[in-house]
Amino acid sequence: MTITDTVTAAGIQLGGLTKSFGAVRAVDNIDLVVAPGETVALLGPNGAGKSTTIDMLLGLLKPDMGDVRVFGMAPAEAVKIGAIGAMLQTGQLIRDLKVRELLAMMASLYPNPAAIDDVVDITGIGDIADRLTNKLSGGETQRVRAGIALISNPDLLVLDEPTVAMDVEGRHVFWTSIRRIAASGKTVVFATHYLEEADSYADRIVLMARGRIVADGPTTEIKATVGLRTIRVTLPNVETDDLSALDGVKSSERRGDAAVLHCTDSDVAIRALLREFPAASDIEIAGAGLEQAFLLLTGDQESEDLS
């Protein structure tokens, strides 16, 4: 009997999860259900509460309030039977062991570990398997860490911003492996602040900002919501109300002589802008950062000038 056979309907259930650090409410009353086999991205800017949520999901951090269930169990139980594999945001490997030795060492801790060769294969670390862990590049280290996350043959794989230390090529190789892992039926939850990563590799995006879930849905839907663009233009003596009224513009704000237009459709907006205000100069069109998109989405005025 494998662990998968005993898994109950819900893969992950977070209910009313809350955690504060001093006066800061890092995670604020989160409810989330992830079905087995889903690949879910937790998308949000730094400080959104992604890592805190993941730490509570893994049982590394005790919630102030709320409940965590992983395959119907408390996180510690799920960890004990090897049902969870995780790659934390920060962390290096211990030194003075070869990659294959480190995997064997970790495998020895679990009741039903994966075959080391399978893990080496799926994470593409065959060429470095006999190298010492302290002689690896950043990208290679991350792939070995992914291997460690898989060594227990987990049903749930949790990755907290796994590609931060990688170059473009490394990212590609890494996500190709993760895709193969997800395709084998495992539940995958990963945190990222790259919209492209969430878009390319997740079935579903859970959007987080300031400790809350602000949107949750299929990837295409969320992408349309946060894929906003901004137009920055030098244009004195025009009211922001007039700018906000332009076609394709959702809102606008003034910064000295310049104005910033938040657009739902920047193509329409730029035509309208030039038609109505020919004096507009120094025009820049940019994809909105996630931070910006979230602020618009959450309609939070007080910290609008954070960016």
Partner: protein
């Protein structure tokens, strides 16, 4: 605890250069330098090679055990303790593996020193060697706790001075380099109150001196109680911070 896990823990310690320098090379080199040049002299009523065999054994085994702290500190800095909390390995077994590794390193150090001693004509009886090894095993218990304590208090960067300085002072005060404070008086009392003193004394059973006095057992037990409590507190504080 799985033997495979322990085996790799041991392997990576053996591959560590610091282990070779401080735990093996340093005591051996000093033993040959000092005892080799004065093989017929006496010190503290013993032949000088025997005295230094005991002294360097106490220094080397203490270093082997306390350097557990260096490994714990490095693993904490690497975030490895968090990774291990996502495995079925309990904290108790984590520390067991570390201490077991420390003891194995200490045994290797002693065996090499016995061999070195034999080359300088230190004659040993199997019974005496067995007694010394048992006493060293007991005498290292407070240092196992000290290692775990230091490993949770100190960053790897400052580990060098703490280990090099702290352990050397303990070794010196305990008489590893030569008797401290004569047969009585304040310094003698200070020396006797330090667990290193009893590690050095453990070596003196090699020449048929009597094993620890009641004071020895009490000193080692008291340090053990205090250091275990400190280590437990340091560990709890560390995991709470995550």
């Amino acid at each position: 605890m799985s033997l495979t896990y322990l085996r790799y823990e041991l392997l990576r310690t053996l591959r560590n250069r610091r282990f070779f320098v401080f735990t093996l090379a340093f005591p051996l080199v000093f033993f040959y330098l000092i005892a080799g040049a004065n093989r017929h002299a006496t010190l503290g009523g013993l032949s000088l090679p025997t005295y230094y065999l005991a002294g360097m054994a106490s220094f080397g085994t203490m270093m082997a055990m306390v350097s557990t702290g260096g490994r714990i500190a490095a693993e904490r800095q690497a975030g490895w303790n968090r990774q291990l909390r996502l495995t079925p390995l309990s904290p108790r077994n984590y520390f067991r593996a570390k201490v077991a590794t420390g003891y194995m390193m200490a045994l290797i150090t002693m065996v090499l020193l016995f061999i070195a001693g034999a080359t300088l004509g230190v004659h040993l009886q199997a019974g005496h060697v067995g007694e010394m090894v048992l006493l060293v095993i007991v005498g290292l218990i407070p240092f196992a706790a000290l290692g775990i304590f230091v490993g949770h208090m100190v960053t790897p960067d400052s580990m060098g001075p703490v280990m090099g300085g702290g352990v050397s002072v303990l070794a010196f005060l305990g008489g590893a380099w030569g008797p401290v404070g004569g047969d009585s008086g304040f310094m003698h009392d200070v020396s006797q109150a330090i667990p290193t003193y009893w590690l050095v004394q453990a070596g003196h059973v090699l020449v048929g001196e009597k094993a620890w006095s009641a004071t020895g057992w009490i000193v080692v037990a008291a340090w053990t109680v205090v250091l275990v409590a400190l280590a437990a507190r340091a560990y709890q504080r560390d995991t709470k911070r995550v």
